[in-house]
Amino acid sequence: MPQTVKKSRVTVTLTVIVLSAAAIAVETWLWSSRKYYLTSVIIILLAMLPFFARFEGRRPQVREIVLLAVMTAFAVAGRVAFYWAPQFKPVCAIVILTAAAFNAEAGFITGAAAGLISNMFFGQGPWTPWQMFGFGLVGFFAGVLFGGREVKTVPMLVYGFFSVLIIYGVLLDTGSLFMYSQEVSLKALLAMYASGFTFNLIHASGTVVFLLLLQKPVLSKLRRIKIKYGMLQ
């Protein structure tokens, strides 16, 4: 990795940490009552910034952009197609497969973009940044674990199940608590996780089902495209 890229990455990361700390400081000292939701959304937006900045900064090839757009659209179309089944959605499965075929960055971008675009069909709301970050992180860690390597089915299914249950579920439930309640305590958080558990369980199992169904065709197609066009290596 060139020195300049490394340096700018450190700078961006440091900036995000400093700004997040500033947001928390402002929250604690300036406002009399705590504004959990606003502060958390500011931090989430800041946390997503480096991923997008890095993608933009390395001037991606048109092919990469178009390919990620296709995978994003597929995830969104999947969410639209299963609108009638609460929480039973293929978005996370498609994001995980994209990340596994390429890398962590592709996973994050696809996930976050799918969160944003699908809400253009379902309606934007205070939950949009949380969904973007949730899908993005599920994709990011999938890329870290499986990106570019020979994929084994069982670890991927296990990852799909637990990443949705823990990363996405906990993140979104925390977001809901910040949205709907101004009183945040450990007890309230635990109550929220408990009430959301069934939904997260459906979502996680759904992801496993979709991973099982989609894994083989999607991965082989992406691998073929990768070889044929020599990209995202």
Partner: protein
Amino acid sequence: MNDAFSQLHPAASFAFFVAVITLTMLYMHPVLLIISLAAAAGYVCILKGARHFGKTLIYLVPFLIFMSVLNALFNHAGVTPLFYLSNGNAVTKEALTFGFYASVMLSAVILWFECFNVVMTSDKLLCLFGRLSPSVSLLLSMALRFVPKFGRKIRSIDAARAQIGQGSAQGGFIRRVKNSMKVLSVTLTWALESSLTAANSMKSRGYGAARRTSFSLYRFTVRDAVTMVLCAFAVGVTAACVVSGGIYARYYPSVIISGFGGIPALGMAAFALLCFLPQLFDAKEALVWRRLRSAI
């Protein structure tokens, strides 16, 4: 829908929504919340019609009541117990009051987002953020366009396969799942191939060789600047009045709500100006139209 405000430049509309939603969430003062809720409700009526708003009320009102009751049942802070639950916890006046205003705040935010979804169409959002980040916005606009395109392709492939008895609605359950997966698989192959062909074509026509221009229907004019200045002014005055302590609301341990006199009234007026900006804008446009028409 005949709303002049939604025809402003995306930057002006976006600034308005950011200002109004942030202030609504920031200050839990009853008067400010009710102003915001009323303005949001009015604007939803303008954008989507009173009938749609009536439908929204059907789920919003029970939600409002549910949230205030929930807060009273689970939150026992506050010094004025109304009655005691069977487990010995008190239901307090403070928790009930806070729960009520928190749900008013949330309803106002939900209604503002309904307006946001009508006014800030996807092309406006892309126009706004496209310049900031050309690659990401290209990705987003392509994905947005692919969704209906894939939908059509899926239907046509499915129709073709149905002719050989392999449609997604033919056979038993397992058969149907298999057929559906096949349709999706065919569509994905086609989508990847055709989009990469498109990418090659874009490249050979010089994509990335120079700064990309993008077409948008919006021009930033004086009225957009005026709107943004008005927003900034209203936010400034409201914030100044809150910071100076004139507009103050506290719910725990006891409810203290102040906001009488000259300075708080000024702050509330500024906030009302901000929230009712779309309506004021529409009224001004209607007035101009009437005057022009009577001059003919």
